[in-house]
């Protein structure tokens, strides 16, 4: 299959959507498909062989902050050329509602188009109000994917129509097989994310910390992520500050090792999350998770069965739950066991097969309806032939647990580090 993927955000800037596209593209290539990714990138930046640069993104004020976007004659022409010369069986756009490359590609597309909607935070409501303007372009999308049930609800509410839910993927075995680091072990609490972005919730954890340390004096907090460390501990009593260790930005490997080592992973995010990939990574690494009760988090944690939830922004509840987990090894083991079964649905082997199923569905529909009105409602014989053929294809692509084990064996490319923060 020839697949064209459009990334709306600059390839050189780290971000959730970019990582998702990178992992998806690499997964599809490993499964034997031809993939080309069109993404904005600075001139002269080093790109993987499957990425085609659409030129530099321009910073413009948009939706309350400065966004780096592509638009204008030059970008439109490059996009059109990429679409026309690519000869793709299917185009997969990401975040098509932003005024970006994805929208330009939508404009240029003539074949089957699949789109993934990542955003679902209420802050983007202003942007969603602009949807009617985009309607004509968005009508070309044959299949919509939302990354969570929550994202789907927001999408349906603002755009109408419907979408299938396919979660973001994680390489579960990469995290499950990471080597724990002894200096990060022993009553440790983990946090990964930008220190200076209050939305990530570190201040809530800092407020809870004195109480946690009062009841569990041996505990330590390990923080991985970029930001001002002194400012982060400013609210903490002087004598407790050495219980917090800042690791700065960490590589993918170190993040996995950190998650393998800690006794509790805390995600105190205040909102604006549509998925929560870090929770899946923590669960894959076997870290018991304690997270704020955001809709998206509750869904990822199987309604609280695969990890514990505390009321959002409630530092006392966070402290209480954290102390309880630290002093209850049995409960931690139980969470680990449930989470390790639960995360399989987020593994790329499962997620990739679902995304491929979407591609196959839209391609098949387009081919059948193009072949003439009669082929659509084929007789039983023809139908069963086509059925067994495509069915066995998907069984291969679907490769369940054994497939997952096989993909886990491969060496992970370490060429591109995933900086956090």
């Amino acid at each position: 299959m020839r697949i064209g993927i459009v990334c709306p955000y600059s390839w050189d800037v780290p971000g959730g959507v970019q990582f998702h596209i990178r992992d998806l593209a690499e997964h599809l290539i490993r499964s034997g498909h031809e993939v080309s990714v069109l993404a904005p990138a600075e001139e002269g930046s080093l790109l993987p062989p499957y990425v085609v640069s659409a030129g530099r993104a321009v910073p413009v004020p948009y939706n309350g902050s400065v966004a780096r976007l592509n638009f204008g004659v030059l970008s439109a022409a490059r996009t059109r050329r990429w679409v026309n010369e690519g000869g793709f069986d299917v185009l997969h756009l990401h975040e098509p509602a932003a005024p970006s490359l994805a929208l330009l590609a939508c404009w240029a597309a003539s074949g089957p188009v699949v789109a993934t909607f990542h955003t679902s935070n209420p802050r983007s409501r202003a942007m969603m109000a602009a949807y009617p303007i985009l309607q004509a372009a968005l009508e070309k999308i044959s299949a919509r994917i939302a990354v969570s049930e929550y994202a789907r609800r927001t999408l349906v509410e603002h755009l109408g129509g419907d979408a299938v839910v396919i979660p973001n993927g994680v390489d579960v075995d990469f995290f499950a097989s990471a080597e724990p680091k002894s200096e990060w072990q022993g009553e440790t609490i983990g946090f990964v994310g930008r220190i200076d972005e209050s939305r990530k919730g570190l201040p809530v954890l800092m407020r809870a910390l004195p109480e946690i340390l009062r009841r569990r004096p041996g505990a330590r907090l390990l923080v991985a992520g970029r930001g001002d460390e002194r400012e982060a501990v400013a609210g903490l009593p002087e004598e407790l500050r050495d219980r917090v260790e800042f690791l700065g930005m960490v590589s993918d490997e170190d993040k996995a090792r950190l998650l393998r080592s800690v006794d509790v992973y805390v995600a105190p995010n205040l909102g604006g999350e549509s998925f929560g990939i870090i929770l899946v990574e923590a669960m894959s690494a076997g870290a018991p998770v304690l997270a704020s009760d955001l809709d998206a988090f509750a869904q990822v944690l199987d309604g609280g069965r695969a990890g514990e939830l505390f009321p959002n922004e409630d530092a006392d509840a966070l402290a209480e739950a954290c102390v309880r987990l630290l002093s209850d090894p049995e409960r931690r083991a139980e969470l680990r066991a449930h989470a390790s079964r639960h995360v399989r649905r987020f593994d790329w082997s499962t997620v990739g097969a679902d995304i491929l199923a979407v591609y196959e569905t839209v391609i098949e529909g387009a081919a059948r309806s193009a072949a003439g009105p009669d082929t659509g409602s084929a007789g039983p014989d023809e139908g069963s032939d086509a059925g067994s053929d495509a069915g066995s294809d998907s069984a291969v692509a679907g490769g369940t647990d054994s497939g997952a084990a096989a993909t886990g064996q491969r060496p992970r490319s370490t060429g591109w580090r995933r900086p956090w923060g």
């Binding site: 309607q135 009508e139 070309k140 299949a143 109408g160 129509g161 419907d162 990822v300 069915g391 066995s392």
Partner: protein, 184 residues
């Protein structure tokens, strides 16, 4: 302003309106072909689901009662007239859930030669039916929204094409074949 200028302006305005209307007609046309494609995909997935089930029912792997229930429901779904199709397919979904009510039945099928593949095919089919149906109904919704628009009704841009209908059915897969179905 001279009469001539007015005429030019009026002609320009008319031209703009004509271009806009023809663009809208093009949009509508594209939506209709998107529905055709989505409908063809849905048909294919429904047929696939029925044919795998029929194969299974005639293979002798299942007990005779389950075989009959499955075969009959799949047969009815395939033969149903257009207006009875939603009901027949829904009943077929219920039959599938009844036959594959527990893991033991799946395990029994997996054991026989070729059973593993059959279960894989059936799993793929029961997962893709809801997917294809969602894409179809999404396209129908978009077309209906545009067709309701004043300009489309006033200028009869939809022509004689019948108003598209959503395909409503119970497409819940058997839980044991879809262990990822829990909301995530």
């Amino acid at each position: 302003m001279t009469t001539f200028t007015w005429l030019i302006l009026a002609a320009a305005a008319l031209l703009l309106i004509a271009v806009y209307l023809s663009w809208t007609a093009g949009r509508l046309d594209r939506l209709h072909s998107r529905i055709d494609a989505a409908r063809a995909a849905l048909d294919a997935q429904l047929l696939r689901r029925a044919s795998v089930a029929q194969e299974l029912a005639t293979s002798g792997v299942l007990d005779p009662a389950a075989s009959m229930v499955l075969h009959q429901a799949a047969h009815r779904a395939r033969q149903a007239e257009e207006e009875e199709r939603e009901v027949a397919e829904s009943e077929f979904s219920q039959a599938l859930r009844a036959v594959f009510a527990d893991q033991a039945q799946v395990a029994a099928v997996r054991e026989v030669p070729g059973g593993e593949e059959t279960i894989e095919e059936l799993t793929a089919a029961v997962r893709r039916v809801p997917m294809a149906r969602r894409f179809h109904n999404d396209a129908v919704r978009a077309a209906r929204a545009l067709r309701r628009h004043r300009k489309v009704r006033l200028f009869r841009l939809a022509g004689h094409a019948v108003s598209p209908q959503a395909f409503e059915m119970d497409d819940e897969p058997p839980a044991v074949l879809d262990d990822r179905s829990n909301p995530a």
